[in-house]
């Protein structure tokens, strides 16, 4: 992460200007394969000695249960839903993401504010407003956008859990034909992501390809980012299997905690790849 940057007003109570960890976002529409890639990346990071953790929408201690309940009843208006999701997001940002970054973790995030913005905009919510609401979000080190077209998306969804009420935009589209709605809604979401790709400097990944092809592109890119987490002393050591460990989450966490001894963190702040962080400000 190196330097802390916010899209809007800073998060109240944040005093530091640098955090040693790395914030990596995987974005893309429903069913594109984000969680598969995150599961693979996490294991790969841990196997290579990096402490990794993950979070995703509606996983906050505060608001997850409430959102799920409200969605079951299909009772939420657009504004309410946006603010409820924003509550969930800030709770995870403050209690999961920031503490992990502070401890030097690589934080893999399944969706970020961009999905919330895309959903809001598709439903006609004021684009300025939703960006203001979510302005306390940290600017990530990288945002991978898994870009897929609807023809490639359809078979994946049918093959997995099928069409979902919310993922088909049934809450606001007029037709009651779920297939037709799904195609329209997902098409609209994808075009929102495509537009945001430029605004937020997404790293666009062609997700029409196979899982291994996508993974290999993500891994290559993340490798460069996480290398900054190595202190110069570490980097000079034989690069081969560092801290070989079975990919057990707990064990790997403990192993990599020393990733941020003070002097090393200082150096990291000036590393060349720092330029990456600030571009979306």
């Amino acid at each position: 992460m190196t330097r802390i940057l916010f899209y809007g007003h800073p998060l109240p109570g944040m005093t530091e200007t640098h955090l040693p960890g790395k914030l990596i976002v995987v974005e893309g529409t429903d069913g594109v394969g984000r969680s598969t890639q995150i599961a693979l990346l996490r294991e790969w990071l841990e196997a290579n000695g990096y402490a990794a953790t993950e979070t995703g929408l509606t996983r906050s201690e505060l608001a997850a249960a409430g959102i799920k309940k409200a969605k079951r009843g299909h009772t939420m208006g657009d504004l309410t839903m946006n603010l409820f999701y924003a509550t969930d997001f800030v709770d995870r940002l403050e209690k999961q993401i920031v503490p992990a970054l502070r401890a030097g973790f690589v934080v893999l995030t399944d969706r970020y504010i961009y999905s919330l913005i895309a959903r809001a905009q598709v439903r006609g919510v004021d684009p300025r407003w939703i960006r203001d609401v979510l302005g306390f979000a940290l600017v990530p080190d990288v945002v991978f956008y898994l870009k897929i077209d609807i023809q490639h998306l359809l078979p994946r969804v049918i093959n997995s859990q099928g069409f979902d009420y919310w993922e088909s935009g049934m809450d606001y589209l007029r037709s009651d034909d779920i297939y037709e709605n799904y195609v329209r809604y997902q098409g609209q979401l994808i075009s929102q992501f495509d537009t945001m790709a430029e605004e937020y400097h997404f790293h666009v990944v062609d997700a029409n390809r196979s899982v291994p092809a996508v993974f290999s592109e993500l891994r290559g890119s993340i490798q460069m980012i996480v290398e900054e987490l190595q202190s110069p002393a570490d980097a000079a050591m034989p690069a081969a299997p560092r801290r070989k460990r079975a990919p057990r989450a707990k064990g790997a966490r403990a192993a990599a905690a020393p990733a941020a001894p003070q002097p090393a963190a200082e150096e990291t702040a000036q590393a060349p790849a720092e330029a990456k962080t600030g571009q979306a400000a």
Binding site: A63, A65, G66, K69, T75, D78, L79, D126, W129, D132
Partner: protein
Amino acid sequence: MATLPDSTPLPGKLFIVEGIDGSGKSTQLDLLHKWLVSRGYLVAFTEWNSSPVVRQTTKRGKAKKLFSPTSFSLLHAADLADRIEQNILPALRAGAIVLADRYVYTAFARDVARGVDREWVREIYRFAIKPTLAFYFRVPLDESLQRILVGRPELKYYEAGQDLGLSEDPYESFRLFQSRILEEYELIVGEAGLTVIDATQSLVRQQARVRRLVQPYLKGALKVDQRPWRQVLAKEGLHGRYLANGAGKDQE
């Protein structure tokens, strides 16, 4: 008249009350409510932090002390958004009078007292309908504290602002928190053009003033016959013994 954020006028009227705890605003709103109903108006009432959609989450956050200033602020915004979308806006579109106990200014005052950015909290509430009249019940801190604390009630954690770590003692924390809120309210009065009511005056005088101020906006407000069956009872010599509780509510 009440207006949408883009200044589109709505047929109904929205009257809201604001003030620190112990200012007597709820008492005054209740008296206004009864008066309006007795005059035959269709009145809907709504209060802060009462949306069924977020209730469970608010309870959870309070019980487990999960809130940060920002999540507290956002969840309360979700609460108002839900009440606007489900209750307030439909009622105003139908031409009814809506009474709200606390409104966006409560968030502007409380959330900023908690350390949230003044501008940001105004941005997130941009969706709110502009009220017809917004009353601010102004009371000196010592008087409100005396009204609230006279029986040494147990103060709740967030109510007393204990999340701010101002003082170990809940009463002292409450006093400090309320004084910050009061300062914010005083800024808002000018900014938002709140109608100030001197809440140190007698209840009767305050209510008389509130009614006088509300009166001019009532022209054209929707009326409803509260007991439409009365005429039948009188004409046929019936007692209405099977009317539910005499209130005439249809059974579900």
